[in-house]
């Protein structure tokens, strides 16, 4: 049941303006304004302000809307082929749009300070606008094809943004890894869409969530749901594709805040929420999602417990929180997942931006180093970071507590208590690793603190006005957002009671608080108290520490698998063909190989006669195949 809107409708006009503004800014920056850094930043921030205003207006206007609104047109390719394009305004897309617009806006403001003086300042803002456009359009897409296109565009712009600053990123293994892993997920996503198209005959979101799926064969539903979930796994860095995210932290910190915590990686969870009714048709698939979410959440929490790199810790925690969201959704509570998505966007962006201030000022990522350089002197950043970490850990009355609690409630509704247990363990671990980091920085061991003179160049930087204001706004959101649970629940699912799904277990909030406090206390005992030797219990078991620090050897596994299969196999053959043709003359050793090795390697050696042989053989084979 949807309302079909027309172009003259204020909602649609606002939506289009909000989406198009960043694109126009991107075009303007690249066509002319590139030489004027201030103008570029102004254009970009102006555009994102328009988007923000549009998003807020839409949210307000549709706060009490009864039915989702669809504006669809079709792109006439030819009279036989047409591609539907459109805008779908429903609670989840409106909420996500607002979140994206807010975070984009704040990060761009923050970047004014962070990126000041960078030679690529205007290009940075250009790519930021491109990203904002792609991400906003993704949230509003009415068909899955359109969503896929913007999904890829988001990937592209994130590639551009990361590579923008860190030359080494793209050249290094890390860049390739991020690209290959997300691409692997995208291939699955694409195949899933294909199966869906074949099975349901449409890619329209409302149709897929509604009548079209009902006509589908249940096994096809499961198949396409699992494949589409592959895309989610890739984008949201879930198990088993989780290792690219920590590596992607090489990029500039505002980019990490924007892409790798609040918006881009959350696109995966958004897609889950977007297709929630469809996915729910397949209990088997939902079971798989629950397992994957849980495994990712626990694995990444353990990894975060031993990392020394401040951004890495937040990256692992992002994976783990995304795992929480997926658990909530897979447990059947639409609201729990989306609410946690919203609150997480706020406090995780805050965490990264605070870390950005610290890193910018002290020029190091290592938390012990930060402590040594008296990171706690950066008061605003440290206060905000502590606040956000408390929200992450689920300490009331911060936003994270409420959203996590609703996920716990959703999990408690399941028959099998193991999921709830796993989630509670996750709460404990989260509080532990979050406060481990905070305590290490706040309470450096006195003998290690650097004398006053050697503080480096950083002391003057601190958080400027632009950066500081972004922090304050986010901190306020972290404080306040938790109390918006009931109205949000009414908005999202039309029922305020959805904030507490499942049976009412009076002990559950206390259990959550208790475990969070337990984790906090453990961290205090090991890192915070004056006599602490700042050595975690994990580090006392070397094998365990190594296991966690090496990310459960997932990377090693991939390296073996991929390098054997891809690098050594296919790519090696290709490279070798190439070398043999071009550089054969330079390589005396290869001659020996040609003579001594078997037929196969000779075929790859690029000798003209072997090529002719292949040519003739294939012709003959084709001829035989033809008549067979």
């Amino acid at each position: 049941m949807t309302t079909t809107a027309t172009l003259s409708d204020p909602n649609v006009a606002t939506t289009l303006a909000a989406c198009a503004a960043p694109l126009l800014a991107f075009a303007a920056i690249f066509l002319g304004a590139r030489r004027f850094a201030r103008l570029s930043a102004g254009l970009s921030i102006g555009a994102v302000t328009v988007s923000l205003a549009g998003a807020v207006f839409l949210l307000a206007a549709n706060w009490h809307a009864e039915a989702p609104q669809v504006f669809s047109a079709s792109w006439l390719v030819s009279d036989a082929v047409r591609i539907p394009v459109g805008v779908l305004l429903d609670p989840i897309s409106l909420l996500m749009m607002t979140v994206v617009a807010v975070i984009c806006f704040l990060v761009q403001i923050y970047s004014l300070g962070y990126m000041a003086g960078d030679p690529g300042f205007s290009r940075y803002y250009g790519f930021m606008s491109l990203f904002a456009w792609a991400m906003l359009s993704l949230t509003l897409s009415s068909s899955l094809f359109q969503l896929y296109v913007f999904w890829e565009l988001v990937g592209l712009s994130s590639y551009l943004l990361i590579g923008f600053w860190y030359e080494k990123f793209s050249a290094s293994q890390a860049g390739k890894k991020a690209f290959v892993m997300t691409r692997a997920g995208d291939v699955a996503f694409m195949l899933g869409l294909f199966v869906l198209l074949v099975g349901a005959g449409t890619l329209d979101v409302t149709a897929v969530n509604g009548p079209a799926a009902a006509r589908m064969n249940p096994s096809l539903i499961t198949l396409s749901a699992l494949l589409i979930f592959g895309g989610i796994v890739g984008k949201s860095a879930q198990f088993p594709l989780l290792t690219w995210l920590p590596d992607a932290m090489e990029g500039p910190t505002p980019v990490s805040a924007l892409l790798h915590s609040a918006t881009m990686v959350a696109a995966g969870v958004f897609l889950f929420a977007r297709l929630f009714p469809f996915f729910r048709q397949s209990p088997a698939a939902m079971g798989v999602f629950l397992v994957i979410g849980t495994v990712s959440m626990l694995l990444s929490s353990t990894m975060a417990m031993v990392s020394r790199d401040i951004k890495q810790v937040w990256a692992y925690s992002t994976i783990s929180q995304l795992g929480f969201m997926i658990m909530g959704l897979a447990a059947g509570s639409f609201f729990a997942g989306v609410f946690h998505l919203t609150t997480h966007a706020g406090f995780k962006a805050l965490l990264f931006l605070c870390s950005g201030v610290v890193i910018h000022a002290l020029d190091t990522n290592d938390m012990f180093e930060i402590a040594r350089k008296k990171g706690r002197r950066l008061k605003l950043a440290m206060i905000c970071m502590t606040l956000a970490a408390a929200a992450l850990a689920g300490i009331p009355p911060l936003s994270g507590f409420f959203s996590k609690e609703s996920i716990l409630a959703a999990l408690a509704a399941l028959d099998n208590p193991i999921w709830l247990a796993a989630a509670l363990l996750g709460v404990l671990l989260t509080a532990y690793y979050a406060f481990r980091l905070i305590f290490i920085i706040l309470f450096p061991r006195p003998e290690l603190v650097q004398p006053e003179s050697g503080r480096g160049h950083g002391s003057g930087h601190g958080a400027g006005t632009a950066m500081g204001s972004a922090l304050v706004v986010l901190a306020a959101a972290t404080l306040a957002l938790g109390f918006a649970a009931a109205p949000l629940a009414r908005f999202l699912s039309g029922d305020p009671a959805a904030a507490h799904p499942g049976p009412h277990l009076p002990w559950l909030p206390y259990a959550g608080i208790g475990l969070a406090a337990g984790g906090l206390l453990l961290a205090w005992f090991e890192f915070g108290r004056p006599a602490a030797d700042q050595k975690g219990f994990v580090e006392r078991v070397p094998a365990l520490a190594a296991l966690f620090a090496n990310r459960w050897y997932i990377d090693v596994f991939y390296a073996r698998l991929i390098s054997r299969l891809v690098d050594r196999g296919l790519a090696w053959l290709c490279a070798k063909t190439d070398q043999r043709v071009i550089d054969a003359g330079l390589d005396a050793a290869s001659k020996h190989i040609i003579r001594s090795s078997g037929v196969l390697s000779a075929l790859q050696s690029g000798m003209i006669q072997h090529r002719l042989l292949v040519l003739f053989a294939v012709v003959v084979m084709l001829g035989l195949y033809f008549i067979a």
Binding site: G598, V599, H610, L613, A617, V620, L624, I627
Partner: protein, 171 residues
């Protein structure tokens, strides 16, 4: 078996034998001379199959001009005898496999020909053939002349001594 079929089989044996000899000779001059005989055999076969004009061209162009050109180049380059195996192992094993598959394909082709009547004798009189060519294949004749022109230019530039070319460039 008519006298014509006897001649055909004789010529076929000759062609196959001399071609086989030609492709296995280590000495290039021998190979070329065997091939000349093979092409003579083909020319006679063309005659038998009613293409006297083509038979003449085969002798004049194939056996005459082309093979003499080969002979000329072989003698001019004075290529020394290679001490290596004439068919390197890594090359002839796959080639042998290819042969077997190819012969299989040939057998399938031959067995699949429908209405395999014996060929009647007939002659395309050169005058009629030429008339036919110019009536139906006029465009092809013109294109062929362009091919020869391009080949001429190509041979001229490729075969030119680099030193001479450079000297001229330097002037």
């Amino acid at each position: 078996m008519t006298i014509y079929s006897a001649i055909f089989y004789l010529l076929a044996a000759l062609i196959i034998a001399t071609t086989a000899l030609a492709i296995t000779r280590r000495n290039l001059v021998h190979a070329v001379v065997y091939l000349v005989i093979s092409f003579f055999g083909s020319a006679l076969l063309f005659f038998l199959l009613g293409a006297p004009f083509l038979a003449a061209l085969e002798v004049i162009i194939y056996a005459g001009a082309i093979m003499v050109l080969f002979l000329f180049i072989v003698m001019m380059l004075r290529i020394e005898e290679s001490k290596r195996r004439i068919f390197p192992l890594s090359q002839w094993i796959p080639a042998a496999v290819l042969c077997v598959i190819y012969l299989g394909m040939l057998a399938v082709i031959l067995s699949g020909i429908e209405g395999d009547m014996r060929l009647e004798t007939a002659v395309a009189v050169p005058a009629a053939f030429s008339m036919w060519i110019f009536r139906h294949g006029w465009l092809a004749v013109e294109i062929a002349s362009l091919i020869l022109l391009v080949a001429l230019i190509g041979a001229l530039h490729i075969g030119r001594r680099p030193a001479a070319a450079d000297k001229k460039e330097a002037q």
